[in-house]
Amino acid sequence: MGVLQSYRLRVRRRTRLVRAIRKRRELHSIADRTKRIKPNDLLLFSTQRNEQVRLPFFLQYYREKGVSHFLIVDNDSSDGSMEYLAEQPDVSVWHTRHSYKKSKYGVDWLNWLQLRYAHGHWCMVVDPDEFFIYPFCDTRPITALTDWLDASSIRSFSAMLLDMYPRGPITDHPYREGQNPFDIACWFDAGNYTMTKNPDYGNLWIQGGPRSRVFFPENPEMAPALNKIPLVKWNRQYAYASSTHMLLPRGLNQVYDEWGGEKASGLLLHAKFLDTFTAKAEEELERHQHYSASAEYQAYAKRLRDNPELWCKWSEKYINWRQLEILGLMSKGNWA
């Protein structure tokens, strides 16, 4: 990397941080319990809008995995989810009415909160429909992983997005509040992912899975990116550049080995394709608050009207992380 490129990325990172600092005015604290954050606590950052039905299980899942404090931006929910979050003893909530799109799909808001509260902490950035799976997650909490990452001098941890779907049309199995979404959406695509290296940021750009297979067979380049780096030992100099797909400084994106070996990695099980999805797709289409003119949601809405089936004969049924590891979707690396 030349000096010029290095400088350019530095400017870009600074711009991100300045944006984040300016966007702090858009956030209004509803419940601020950040005083309770202790050193070495694992923090979780998220934005949400009308996700009441998902939140109970989401909070329970991450509490059990060792998250100590949740910092959540509520983007003008109307289903009571903000009030629900404000009642939780380990949640701090901020409210905003401003545009999700104009804050770079929530990245600016979270960059600000991370700048303010996450310095020196390990922190996760996930959506309410993303569930973190990592090696030994059935017997070890996330803090075991972060301690090991600390000991190995690793600052960031990769977890590809794995789209989960039910068998049969997605409207067939209604999701109830508090339920494990993977009781319903327990199928996934095991081996149709493609990746290329992003020369600017050094991250891998991964596409594929059921969304590419069913919604984008004619224009696979439009399929959404699946690479994510949701777990980072935060420093106030850092910034997410585009969703949680990539970070600056770019050294944080080096979560893969280039010399034949495997680094440790996990997955974010994506519980997007539940019965709630159809309504969400229609709504998002009207709001125009998503990436590239909501092209993704346009494609979904078009296909969803015929109630498509994502399941196919070669779908794999989720059992546990070891299965995902054997399939080559994630890796233990040298963590044993």
């Binding site: 075991a144 081996g191 992912y193 493609t194 440790a264 070669w314 963590w335």
Partner: protein, 566 residues
């Protein structure tokens, strides 16, 4: 009282306290060294927590940093205090705050009582072991290391370079041969006291202060001078990964640790409650006298390191994306590519399946759709037949297919029409077996019954495309098992090459082929080629086909559909 425990502590004080209490409870005095980097308030709190125990002492504190002298100084101070305060102690065991005794203390005492003169310390000459991290082995002892590896890496590296360039070498103190090994030892009072009290100690200390990672070499080297009976192994189970960091044990290692029969394990995750609860109990059952046997744990950790450094062959994923040439195998396993066979033989694909049992696909890279076996639209791993999806990254398509069908050999057809086929990729892949009958693309045209002008145009296009593919397969970079026949060559004796290909696929039994695939009718093909030539389009890839006259054809014997086995 026979064993004294030295504990080096710098973090997780609640666990260290728990361990210290455990040792004392079973009659082992403990001397604790607390890292000087720890705040005095924290240290004081820790000392107070243990104030009720008589047999716990705290020694002089040193600043400990990995790779530096402090750890040796700490061990020395602790050992001196131990030897002075507890004259009954016959063996001294060096451990850390994150060590966990796995077997009842009585068993350790008995074990050592049965070996009163033995020093347990891993100690090997540098020339013979590949343990070193950072490329420094013998140079640890012959260069100067004034800079910290952790905090001043740049200066550290440059200073090493400069010394190498200037050929600066330290002189080894006379009488010692450098040895290295695990820093966790258990020495007899006799050996330890002679190391600590001998008149030359100041001289040795001065030398080792500037050696890199002296905690892995100070005692290991000196013990070779003074000890009479060395068991070169550590009683502490401690495994290191490829970066020289210790592996950590968690709750799920409980059974593994129990079966290892090791006395002490390092290092334990401080929050592994099940391990601490499980091993710090009163011993139940009879006292065992078994030897430590960490082989299984060794295997697990060795595998983990291999996974990290070599990875899984043929896998491309979020945390393994090798640069060109670093793949350790570009694809998971062997596969076969057939070029021109399904054109020449009418039932080639079913025949191949019957002969080999492999999964036989049609033209995987056909422009219309990937022709998966049995006309499936999606195949293993939910790989889609959509041509756009496939051509978006055709190499990933192929590597995914081979990875998804691990354990089942894949065969597929390729032809000049399949422009998206990653020919260069499989030409370079040693796992590929590529068999080509060149010029077979003319057969479908020969049977097409179209305007001859169109046929001529198409023939010219296909010939050009196939030539390009052959160029890749013939290039010096091609590492695949490539065989190329012209069509004329092939039809003269088709069974021999077929047998060779099938044998190489090796579907178990090395049978002679009983049945040949049915060759398409070639009568008139020579004339067809001549017509193309007459139109100015010279087809050269199929070799020399004679223009056969009807009379000649009648003379030719009928082809036998079956071969008779001798």
């Amino acid at each position: 009282m026979s064993v004294g425990i030295l504990m080096l502590v710098h973090t997780a004080f609640d666990r260290a306290e728990q361990i210290a209490r455990h040792w004392v409870k079973y009659g082992c005095p403990v001397v604790i060294h607390v890292d000087l980097n720890v705040k005095s308030k924290t240290c004081k709190k820790f000392e107070n927590a243990l104030v009720d125990l008589d047999n716990v002492q705290f020694c002089k504190r040193h600043r400990c940093e990995w790779g530096a002298w402090g750890l040796v100084a700490a061990s020395q101070s602790a050992a001196e205090l131990m030897l002075a305060e507890y004259p009954d102690v016959k063996h001294v065991y060096l451990s850390s705050g994150s060590c966990l005794p796995l077997r009842p203390v009585e068993e350790l005492k008995d074990y050592l009582k049965a070996r009163p003169q033995t020093d347990f310390i891993e100690s090997a000459t540098t020339a013979d072991v590949p343990w070193t991290v950072g490329g420094l082995d013998n140079e640890r002892f012959t260069l100067h290391f004034p800079f910290s590896w952790r905090k001043q890496r740049f200066l550290f590296d440059r200073w090493v370079d400069i010394q190498r360039m200037l050929k600066i070498k330290r002189k080894l103190p006379p009488g010692i041969v450098p040895h290295m090994g695990s820093q966790w030892w258990c020495l007899t009072r006799q050996t330890l006291s002679v190391i600590l009290q001998n008149p030359e100690r100041a001289f040795f200390d001065k030398y080792f202060k500037r050696v890199w990672i002296p905690d892995e070499s100070y005692f290991q080297t000196l013990v070779r001078v003074y000890s009479k009976n060395i068991e070169s192994r550590s009683l502490t189970l401690s495994k290191f990964d490829f970066q020289g960091k210790p592996h950590i044990f968690y709750d799920d290692h409980l059974q593994l640790l129990r079966r290892s029969d090791c006395f002490v394990a390092r290092k334990i995750w401080p929050r592994a409650n099940r391990l601490y609860d499980g091993f710090l109990r009163d011993p139940d059952g009879a006292i065992k006298m078994s030897e430590p046997n960490p082989a299984k744990i060794d295997r697990i950790f060795a595998k983990a390191v291999e996974r990290r450094t070599k990875g899984r062959t043929g896998l491309y994923m979020q945390s393994r994306f090798p640069n060109d040439g670093w793949e350790n195998g570009m694809t998971f396993g062997r596969y076969s590519v057939f070029h021109g066979f399904s054109e020449l033989f009418e039932d080639f694909e079913p025949w191949l399946y019957k002969a080999t049992g492999a999964q036989v696909h049609g033209h995987l890279f056909a422009p219309e759709s990937a022709e998966f076996t049995e006309g499936q639209k999606v195949i293993n791993g939910a790989l889609s037949a959509s041509p756009k999806n496939r051509d978006y990254n055709s190499i990933a398509f192929l590597t995914n297919l081979i990875w998804n069908t691990r354990g089942e050999r894949q065969c597929f057809q390729v032809g000049p029409c399949d422009e998206g086929a990653p020919v260069w990729f499989f030409a370079k892949d040693p796992n590929a077996q590529v068999s080509v009958i060149s010029g077979a693309w003319a057969l479908p045209l020969f049977k097409a019954n179209q305007n001859f002008a169109d046929i001529r145009k198409e023939a010219a296009r296909l010939q050009k495309l196939e030539n390009k593919q052959l160029w890749a397969l013939r290039s010096p970079y091609a590492k695949a098992r490539v065989r190329i026949w012209t069509m004329a060559e092939f039809i003269e004796a088709p069974m021999e090459p077929l047998q060779m290909i099938i044998d190489e696929i090796g579907a178990g039994a090395a049978n002679r082929l009983a049945e040949a695939p049915r060759m398409t009718d070639l009568s008139g093909f020579g004339q067809f080629l001549q017509n193309l030539k007459n139109q100015g389009m010279h087809p050269y890839l199929m070799g020399d086909f004679p223009v056969e006259t009807p009379e000649q054809r009648q003379k030719m014997p009928q082809r036998k559909p079956y071969l008779v086995q001798k």
